[in-house]
């Protein structure tokens, strides 16, 4: 299972990639593995806003339906519509093709409590 070092993570199993003023958000390899085959995903509209620790979408697998929790607050600048038609991308490439939304970073404070790859890996070991 992979946990790229250049990403930040949440305890709700989302990853965040910070580039300039933009944060790209998706779900982790561990999340997709626990969910099993993803069959449906629901994302917010482009131009909408998301709130830190609040649900911003839904991901559904053959086992369960789970909320997606936003790691930060801000406006949604881009949505990956491609994964709505091909949810299997979430299982195949969770850190690449299956990114979910891009958010304009409102406050750097939002990013302060996110986990590093090592911290996240330790967290899921404990959760097991």
């Amino acid at each position: 299972m992979e946990f790229p070092k250049d990403l930040k993570y949440t305890k709700e199993h989302e990853w965040v990639k910070v580039e300039g003023n933009t944060a790209t958000v998706g779900i982790t390899d561990y999340a997709q593995d626990s969910l099993g085959d993803v069959v449906y995903v629901e994302l917010p509209p482009e131009g909408g806003s998301v709130t830190k620790n609040e649900p911003f979408g839904v991901v559904e697998s053959v086992k369960a339906v789970s909320d997606l929790y936003s790691p930060l607050s801000g406006n949604v600048t881009e949505v990956n519509d491609a994964i709505i038609d091909s949810p299997e991308a979430i299982n195949e490439d969770p850190y690449g093709d299956a990114w979910m939304i891009k958010v304009e970073i409102g406050s750097d404070d939002d990013l302060a409590d996110l986990l590093t790859a090592d911290e996240y890996q330790k967290f899921i070991e404990e959760e097991k």
Partner: protein, 494 residues
């Protein structure tokens, strides 16, 4: 070992549309003894149907064989053990069907006058009183048509209560051990859902509620016993806390079958509860339903109950609709009446002592299975359970075998699989609810099958991964079915 599951002759059957032969009919109606009129001359064109595309032409025997064969592919409670956790698949005694089939009940019409419906009204009035007594509530409505509909009814009454006091509240607190439908019902009633995590032992703590509760909280909505099959032991303190903030305690009564006759939810400080008659009171489930989800409330919420209410004046029963604070009507006519008759029959036949014994036996049976399978399968919470117990696939993971594989293999042994991957708080959950109606011998055979499967997982995991083998259709591709659903029959093969 001797297994229940075996192969037998099951006949193939095409879709009913594929059996159609043009011009074939089941019944030939008698010839008209009045002159035939032209429909188009009598009924406006927009209301007339052109034809009935694709409607199959079949004889009576074709139709009977079609449905008989389909019914032989079914697995139901009348054919075998069905330990589907959280669903309470207890046996439904046939006497309930006899009572519900009495012509006084089946030949009644909802537009019939009150004078001619006294018997039906009496059954409903008494059933309300029995449910009130069992739960310790002050008043009950029978109107909601299923458990989640009952939840919505309860929450709408709570919302209306705060609105009528001129200070509407916005939030409902729901622990992760609550029944899965609770957040959806709260959302539908206009509330914002505040989720709360249960602590390590699988129950809700007062501290967790304290951290989430405020004056915007209309209700705390918990399920007791909760969805892990555990008793929410802090319920009384939680009730006191929510009352001190002016809110209500809603208890989802979906698992009432583990406590009925033993204790009353009202004594624990519960203000609203719904009853799932199709679970606790042995009325039919799901497609064989319909369901029924009566709701009980404390006196303070009584004015908000749906209309009509049944009142007794002297020896006569009447329907009352003039109740200004009521949330209105939730269901056409009076709810699913024939289901109420079955529940009434069950309660009368069991009596208070019988209901208590049913709860005790349900708890004993679940604990028996829990203790005898502990170690073979990882137990999610190693402590006494109520009416159901939760295992996981943790011990099978090393062999590359998952909960789904175990569940599918159980079908080969002749059992309906338990609930899987629920509750969500237990990864790879296997949730077993034997109910009180199963014998020791049935449970022992099930336990043997579960142990044999755990052994197969070690020696021949492929057997599990390819299961079921004995069924008409082997492992289906659930992922593809969900990703590319085919929802409509699209044409006759000619």
């Amino acid at each position: 070992m001797e297994a229940n599951g075996t192969k037998g002759l099951l006949l193939n059957e095409p879709l009913i549309f594929e059996k159609s032969s043009e011009g074939r009919v089941g019944v030939e109606p008698a010839s008209f003894d009045v002159p035939r009129a032209d429909a188009a001359a009598l009924i406006p064109g927009g209301l007339l149907r052109d034809g009935l595309d694709g409607f199959p032409d079949l004889s009576e025997i074709d139709t009977v064989r079609h449905y008989t064969r389909l019914s032989q592919w079914n697995f139901g409670l009348d054919s075998g053990f069905y330990p589907l956790g959280s669903c309470t698949m207890k046996y439904n005694p046939k006497v309930n069907e006899d009572i519900a089939g009495m012509t006084g009940f089946t030949r009644i019409h909802p537009y019939q006058s009150e004078d001619l419906s006294q018997g039906a009204l009496e059954v409903m009035y008494e059933l309300e009183a029995y449910l009130a007594e069992i739960s310790g509530m002050d008043a009950v409505t029978l109107q909601p048509s299923a458990g989640a509909h009952g939840e919505l009814c309860g929450l709408l009454m709570i919302a209306e209560y705060f609105k009528s006091k001129g200070r509407p509240r916005t939030k409902v607190i729901i622990p992760d051990t609550a029944h899965g439908t609770n957040p959806a019902s709260s959302h539908l009633a206009g509330f914002k859902v505040v989720p709360v995590k249960s602590e390590g032992k699988g129950v809700l703590t007062v501290e967790a509620v304290k951290a989430a509760i405020d004056r915007e909280t209309a209700a705390v909505m918990l399920t007791n016993p909760n969805t892990l099959g555990l008793f929410e032991s802090h319920i009384k303190e939680i009730a006191d806390l929510v009352h001190s903030k002016g809110g209500f305690l809603y208890c989802d009564g979906a698992n009432l079958n583990a406590i009925m006759g033993i204790m009353k939810l009202g004594d624990l400080g519960v203000d609203v509860v719904q009853f799932n008659l199709h679970k606790t009171f042995s009325t039919p489930h799901g497609g064989g339903g319909p369901g029924s989800g009566p709701v009980g409330v404390r006196l303070v919420l009584e004015p908000y109950l749906p209309v009509p209410r049944i009142k007794k004046a002297g020896k006569k029963f009447k329907l009352v609709t003039d109740r200004p604070k009521s949330i209105g009507r939730l269901k056409a006519f009076y709810g699913n009446f024939s289901i109420m008759v079955r529940a009434y029959s069950y309660i009368r036949r069991m009596g208070g002592e019988g209901l208590k014994r049913a709860s005790e036996t349900a708890i004993l049976n679940a604990n028996y299975i829990k203790e005898r399978l502990k170690g073979t399968y990882q137990l999610a919470f190693d402590r006494p359970c109520m009416h159901e117990c939760v295992f996981s696939d943790k011990l099978q993971q090393a062999d590359g075998v998952s909960t789904m594989d175990v569940a599918k293999r159980l079908i080969d042994y002749g059992y309906h699989p338990p609930t899987v991957y629920f509750p969500l708080v237990v990864p790879g959950a296997i949730m077993v609810e034997p109910t009180e109606t199963e014998s020791l011998e049935t449970m022992d055979k099930f336990i043997e099958a579960m142990r044999a499967i755990a052994q197969e997982a070690k020696t021949n995991p492929e057997l599990l991964k390819n299961a079921p083998a004995n069924t008409r259709v082997q492992r289906v591709d659930e992922t593809r079915a969900a990703r590319e659903p085919v929802l409509k029959w699209t044409g006759v093969k000619k």
